[in-house]
């Protein structure tokens, strides 16, 4: 059990008014963007206080995204692993196939409220890009998605989806052409088009207020779990598990439970080919505090403070940073940050498909890989909730390749 008894105040109060979660977070951006970020913060505070805003968001979450997503008892997996009673939060059933839509609906309503007329976003695997392109189509706003050139090649089905939705895809060749470079390029675009453009960041990172607002929009996941578990079992869960890239699905599940000290919380990072080598994306387990993309957080970096590329079988997790709130939750010991290798994720992917008839995305397959180890060590009356945050249609080609199959 994690000890948080010495912390008097609620763990749900952060960030402070400058956007800090303890040492982490903040606003490390160029002066050109500072006024925009302050403006965004003000608009977000106003929106939060406006019942009409929440009403419109709730409506869209229900009738457009299909929320609430169900809390599903994974009976066969529970039986197979022979320990904890496993529940899946089925966020892969949302419109667009992942939790990303929760945040995008919130941010596009904010963009509209602020009178912005153009949307930009970065994407890695393309799940966030697809969700952004979707809401941009729904609200009739032109949308440009920055995507590393390497990812454009790796994730062609999602590139096509975004194009169908009317988005312009800008392949990024700067740097090494991956997610972090796409984020650099999106920031470069934003700093150039300050008047009309709203940047929809996909993960709970970036300069304040992004980590907070993404968390708030994703926290619908954890709030629903509280209610649904009470309904199903008459009590709260004993443990929570979610995968972590930048950490948006995880913080969405975790945040409403941070003050429930008896609940064990596990964030699963991508250990790639193993934490003992350089080929992983585990910023918390293998990185050090640093400053990138507007916030202080754990980063994969070398001895000179140069940012390293993350590696993971999942293009959605290979980001060298992590949301600042996770960095704080690690340092205070509230959340246990563990990891799963590429191989463990592939095992999780196959296990879930075989025992539950659900093909998961490679991102939550990391969480599944960890559940496979954790669940058997727990008693049968232990209630475990794992966020199944994305569906695996986009990954079938990659998985087939790794398993040596031709499709």
């Amino acid at each position: 059990m994690t000890q948080v008894d010495n912390i008097a105040n609620s763990l749900m109060n952060g960030p402070d008014d400058k956007g800090h979660f303890g040492l982490f977070g903040g606003r490390f951006v160029a002066e050109t963007l500072m006024p925009l970020i302050l403006d965004l913060e003000k608009s977000y505070d106003e929106a939060k206080a406006d019942p009409e805003f929440q009403k419109e968001l709730d409506y869209l979450l229900k009738y457009y995204a299909g929320r609430p997503s169900v809390l599903y008892h994974a009976e066969r997996l529970t039986e197979h692993l022979g320990g904890a009673k496993i529940y899946f939060k089925r966020d892969e059933l949302n419109h667009t196939g992942s939790h990303k839509i929760n945040n995008c609906l919130g941010q596009i309503l904010l963009a509209k409220r602020m009178g912005k007329t153009r949307i930009i976003a970065e994407t890695g695997a393309g799940q966030h890009g697809v969700a952004v392109a979707t809401v941009a189509a729904r609200f009739n706003l032109p949308c440009t998605v920055f995507m590393g050139a390497m990812d454009v090649e790796r994730q062609s089905p999602n590139v096509f989806r975004m194009k169908m939705l009317g988005a312009e895809i800008r392949p990024v060749t700067a740097g090494r052409g991956t997610l972090k470079d796409a984020m650099n390029e999106a920031l470069r675009d934003w700093v150039t088009n300050v008047d009309d453009t709203f940047y929809i960041i996909g993960t709970a990172a970036g300069p304040h207020p992004y980590p907070q607002l993404v968390r708030d929009f994703q926290s619908v996941i954890g709030r629903e779990v509280r209610e649904q578990m009470m309904e199903a079992e008459g009590r709260l869960p004993d443990s929570l598990v979610a995968c972590i890239g930048g950490g948006s699905n995880a913080i969405g599940l975790f945040h409403p439970f941070l003050d429930d000290k008896d609940i064990d919380i596990y964030g699963v990072e991508a250990a790639g080919r193993g934490l003992d080598g350089p080929d992983h994306a585990a910023s918390l387990n293998g990185g050090q505090p640093g400053v990138l993309h507007g916030n202080r957080t754990y980063l994969l970096q070398d001895d000179d403070g140069q940012i390293l590329e993350g590696h993971s079988i999942s293009a959605g997790l290979d980001y060298p940073g992590i949301g600042p709130e996770h960095s704080w939750l690690k340092d205070i010991g509230r959340v246990n940050y563990v990891s799963a290798t590429d191989k463990e994720a592939l095992d999780g992917f196959q296990m879930c498909s075989k025992y539950e008839g659900i093909i998961p995305a490679l991102e939550p397959s990391h969480a599944l890989g960890f559940v496979k180890k954790l669940a058997p060590t727990l008693p049968k009356d232990h209630l475990l909730v794992m966020n199944l945050c994305g569906r695996g249609d986009k990954d079938v080609f990659a998985v087939a390749e790794h398993l040596g199959m031709n499709i």
Binding site: V29, E31, T32
Partner: protein
Amino acid sequence: MTLKTRIDARFEQLKTENRGALITFVTAGDPTYDVSLEILKSLPEAGADIIELGMPFSDPMADGPAIQLASERALANGQNMIKTLEMVREFRKTEPDTPLVLMGYFNPIYHYGAEKFVSDAKEAGVDGLIVVDVPPEADEELCIPAMKVGLNFIRLATPTTDDKRLPMVLQNTSGFLYYVSVTGITGVNAPDISDVLKNVARIQGQTDLPIAVGFGVKSAEQVREITAGAAGAVVGSAIVREIEANLNEDGSPQEGLAMRVKALISELAQGVRA
């Protein structure tokens, strides 16, 4: 800050000469340590009044393609913070007067240790810092430690910095104020100079600091036009492109690269000389 720095002295001197400052940017270690040092040493004689030396970073978010590639070249050839400070020490052995400002991003400094960095930089002969991603809201991170050791902390004001925000930007700025001529990244869009000078005049109404203008400035003609209304003009990407144009296909420097860069600086320097 009470002590007069090399930057203060240089602007005073230029005032008596009744001309503006040519401020030149190159990335430390681009394309190699040795050639970069040769370029650095040649800058004062070529006519650079103040030198900005870029600390290469893997993720230069405020920079356009030219300076991004310069950073990549330098890092690929093994440049790091220790070597950049070493380069400054070498430069100072023969050049006591020309101010040198380190410019870059916060993470390599943070990783080095901010307190240690400002003291090592001062000791090496650095006069000021421009760190793009540390806004006034985070002054205690780097600006205050820099001031304590006697380094000028030069802040950027931009077209989005309105009159209400300006005092905050000016508060702990010293040496000079860097006015960013465009909303955007380095070396891409050309500034509208009459617009820029209007903004410079507006800002000058609130500060006695010299104001230098940069981003998108590439010719002696632009330098002349800008310094008609501002204390200095910064040229970066154009110089870095000259380095890029003098590389072999394998990325190694061509014979005479430093000479050609020096020639470009001399040409730009005509913009601040009659």
